[in-house]
Symmetry: C2
Subunit: 183 residues, 2 copies
Amino acid sequence: MVTSFFTCKKIISSLAIAAMLSSVAPSLAAAPADKKDPVAVEAIAEQTLSTVQVVATGYTAGYESTGKRPGHPQYGITYSGVKVRRGQVSTIAADTKLFPIGTLLYIPGYGYGVVADTGSAIKGRRLDLYFETIKDVYKQWGKRTVAVQVLRKGNGKLSQAWLNQINRAVEAGKPIPQTYLES
Amino acid sequence: MVTSFFTCKKIISSLAIAAMLSSVAPSLAAAPADKKDPVAVEAIAEQTLSTVQVVATGYTAGYESTGKRPGHPQYGITYSGVKVRRGQVSTIAADTKLFPIGTLLYIPGYGYGVVADTGSAIKGRRLDLYFETIKDVYKQWGKRTVAVQVLRKGNGKLSQAWLNQINRAVEAGKPIPQTYLES
């Protein structure tokens, strides 16, 4: 039983490594030539000083993220003074106590980032990743694969009255009453 | 060896179920009273007609998502005619061939959604989840936990010239040349 447990642990570790590698792959996939070249992945791993688990969100230079609109003298200018950039090495925001300005990171699913900016909510193990547009944030970062549960198949119609009623009937964290699940 | 493999499979399945349950938990966590009540989770599972894996993004009623600004006669009005809503049962966009208008879903990490809207990019196993603000999309849906690799510790300064130079030096999918990694 003990042997079997450790065999499992090994298999689970392999799965974890495979999952990590697959999360590295998408950003490299941007360059088709390198898809065949495993050296790039290894080289990135070799250069690493350390690996840190962080929670990352996306942001833009726009009003919703910075409170500045085009025309503002500081629009698109990071805390460090450099202009925001989405490129081979993009500008990102971090807590400078953890990652001083100029720190270079490799962020799976995003690419290389250099710490150039800060943010009032970006404290500790938090990063804000720069994207050119809100749509880019939605599509390139704010995407999740989830297993959704189908509770009732719709009949093609939805009324405001029914939507209001079901919202009154459902209590937070409670299942939907059976009567609303009948098509 | 065969026995050990199947034992592992069982353990891995248990892990997968645990992961699924933990992904259900956060949205229920909105109602502290129900955190202690495992019945709610079971009840949700019992009502399920089927489970479908989808890719979900967030959207708002705003210009970046709908091309309409406040003041437009159709601003905040979904394809079904009902108003967008983030509540116990929120309005979501789906491909109506897969999920007809009025379909009720439970989306882990979001909550209950009723298909009320459509979108040009929302085809097949894709969902767009309604949020009231762009910031809500960023913070509530566009958040990822990632293991970032620290390649170089910054010295607190960053110049536009260096940022331009490193962007010219790094080729897509290739590691950063060693000279840029020395602090």
